[in-house]
Symmetry: C2
Subunit: 436 residues, 2 copies
């Protein structure tokens, strides 16, 4: 559950592993990312254990792009994670965080030639490909460089959901991977490329397992090959709590009918990881008849999301047009998705009753710079610190320098020791690449 | 019109002020931002001339956040622009680009105490405030520091349009400024703050002029004061071409009916700047009876948007699910808004016929990492360079380092001289603030 690791001290301040979070904000300034080392390590152990208890050969690859902070990546590596990279930057980060090349998997819709060359030079564990032109390029480069990389094919099972405007244009996911229905044919063709050891198959997310494994079986038997790497990608979030357009419409109707606005719905339940571990292992054994292949997983959000918090300061409290506006010192420059259901709390008065419906916004001067909308909070005063849980994934690595330099990040250890894993930027840092 | 400054050379390559853009991409690599110095300067002159021809006292303040590149800011300063800043970073950039403090206006929904102190210390031209708590803080700081800043009040005329999902929650614009209807009352109260010279009024965008000027008149006469600064904010884009949700629905219905998809609509016409200049000057004189106040404008997009181009390389061409996908080496990390209508062209084959309906996507591995959807283009080959016009505003200053370091930016001078205004980042630049 989100923010469960926080405790309320006698003075009403929230604590993380014994560290007073008000003191932390005072010392390091806000905005501030705070990462919980204990939760990070627990997440990894829970995830890898869920699969390793039921299956002998498992590679859990931390998806570097989710949060590429070197300090967090280092902890994942210490726990025994492999790494999943999808760009030269990712690979640079993974190497710098100490992942050995033989524990790195390369993914991505397209990979520049420089990235493929680097992957070959370092002899990565596995390169997952998504188009035939990429396979041909890789084959040519491998020939030139005199090596024989281990290669997988990513297959796409795509479902069009019409949940987002862009699905009126196209099926946005269909661009990834090879079409699922072409799997056998593409695999057969790829096996003929003389410099590649094509022995991996991938889907992402893992929910397609009931369609996917029969195809793996068919390919193994039909082509008399061994699929060494069965790659299930990611999609293992513990709890997905997003407010969707239907929720908004429902709530707008409630208001029109004079009913109380209510978007504080509980997060949608998703499958527990233990159950996923049992299911995947059982399905693999049942469908393929053995446990010989290595199962590859590429979690990101599962490992880091609830281990990350964003601390903000309330800079202005304002009433206008019938709304209570809380203006904080960080917004969509740091946490993009205001539709994620996050239970925001007041750090310095953690036991205060929630009594007001507020909109929290950031400092960016965009209409859409929201932190959250319609959340019940205690009566907020200027200077209050706020804490956003579930701020570990796609935040720091996807942040901007729009209007403000980026914040620092600290790691709180299990015993309450605090270390900086990212220094706060100055204004001069933002313009250091500019030439006047 | 977008991209009008591009010419097609005999070899079929696009040129900007005589510079072969294929050569530019080859030399500096892609992605690459390219800025047209001639267009930048013309934009400024056209804008300031439109108002200055009809009114004696005009301050055109370049909105730094729109594109805070030092090279571009320096050009604006050379042209005689003032600067509008909204954060300590903006102020740092403006000073570094050579704007003197007496030509800088400070805006923003809230301003941290450090920013207000800096503004007072440097004695900026004007500080526009948006809440009474801010006025009180500023009054206290001015007292402490023994100065008397020139202060404006931003008033909000807000209209709820229900065009976006978040308008089901709230009126997102209502948080900015003071409610328009409280204008007189707030002004009267603000005038009593002993350390402030409250003599400015602001609205943004300028379209509310017919409501705004009568209030200025009422305040001047009713309170027997002189409004020295009448601030009209921004909102002067030359052409607004956005594909909206209604366009998408219409197009989806067309397709269902078996008609040809067509989102290549002409951009919506907006008022020409010459007309805006005449209108504003005439309205001010008619309503206030004189031309004594300084008119302040804060354009951003108008000045830089069509002076900026983003050059991308086609990395992969792929057909899937009935769509043609063009995967480019830059996407929403660099240009956020794929719903802006941009006429994308092939740089190396500018005269090729448009014949295919394609979706251009970026390298980010998000479903929504789109450059554009449903655009007719010539048949694209891997390695083709693409050029996106209208890429000057809210692109570089709002970019991320997600998956890839940020690109270089070059300035092409009127005579075809090329200079770097931003160096390309390396992977190491991205993690330089990280501590392992």
């Amino acid at each position: 559950m989100q923010g469960q690791q926080l405790e309320t001290a006698k003075n009403g301040h929230l604590q993380l592993n014994g560290v007073d979070l008000v003191d932390l904000c005072d010392e390091y300034g806000t905005p501030l990312f705070v990462f919980d080392e204990k939760r990070l390590r627990e997440n990894y152990r829970r995830f890898s254990g869920a699969f390793a208890r039921h299956y002998p050969k498992v590679a859990v690859c931390y998806s570097i792009k989710t949060n590429n902070n070197l300090g967090l990546c280092r902890i994942m590596r210490e726990e025994g994670a492999f790494a999943e990279v999808a760009s030269l930057l990712d690979l640079h980060v993974a190497m710098k965080a100490g992942f050995p090349p033989e524990r790195i998997v390369l993914d991505g819709l397209y990979k520049p030639e420089g990235l493929l060359r680097e992957a070959l030079r370092r002899n990565l564990l596995l390169i997952n490909t998504e188009s035939f032109s990429e396979l041909e390029l890789l084959n040519r480069l491998a020939g030139e460089m005199g090596c024989r990389p281990t290669v997988g094919l990513r297959l796409s099972i795509y479902v069009r959901k019409f949940l987002n405007p862009e699905e009126l244009y196209c099926n946005p996911l269909s661009r990834f991977g090879f079409p699922f229905e072409d799997g056998l044919k593409v695999f057969e063709k790829a096996r003929k490329l003389e410099n590649l050891d094509v022995c991996g198959l991938m889907i992402h997310p893992y929910w397609g397992i009931h369609q996917f494994l029969p195809l793996v079986d068919q390919i193994q038997k039909g082509l008399d090959v061994k699929i060494d790497f069965i790659n299930f990608g990611g999609g293992f979030e513990k709890a997905s709590g997003k407010i969707g357009f239907p929720d908004l419409v429902k709530d707008a109707i409630r208001q029109r009918l004079g009913m109380k606005s209510n978007l504080d719905l509980p997060p949608r339940k998703v499958r527990e990881i233990e159950e996923a571990g049992r299911l995947v292992a059982a399905e693999v054994e049942r469908t393929l008849g053995n446990k010989d292949s290595t199962l590859v997983f590429e979690p990101g959000r599962y490992l880091v999301h609830d281990a990350g918090f964003l601390m903000l300061k309330t800079c202005l409290v304002k009433e206008a047009a019938g709304y209570k506006w809380i203006v904080a010192d960080g917004g969509t420059n740091l946490v993009e998705d205001y539709l994620e259901r996050r239970e925001i709390r007041v750090v310095n008065r953690a036991d205060a009753q929630r009594e007001e419906l507020v909109n929290i916004v950031g400092p960016l001067l965009f209409a859409r710079d929201f932190v959250t909308l319609k959340q019940y909070l205690p009566k907020i005063q200027e200077g209050d610190y706020l804490i956003l849980p579930n701020a570990g994934a796609y935040t720091l690595s996807n942040s901007t320098q729009f209007l403000n330099p980026r914040p620092a990040a600290v790691l709180v250890g299990p015993d309450g020791d605090v270390s900086i894993v990212r220094e706060r930027e100055t204004s001069e840092d933002v313009v250091r690449m500019d030439r006047i």
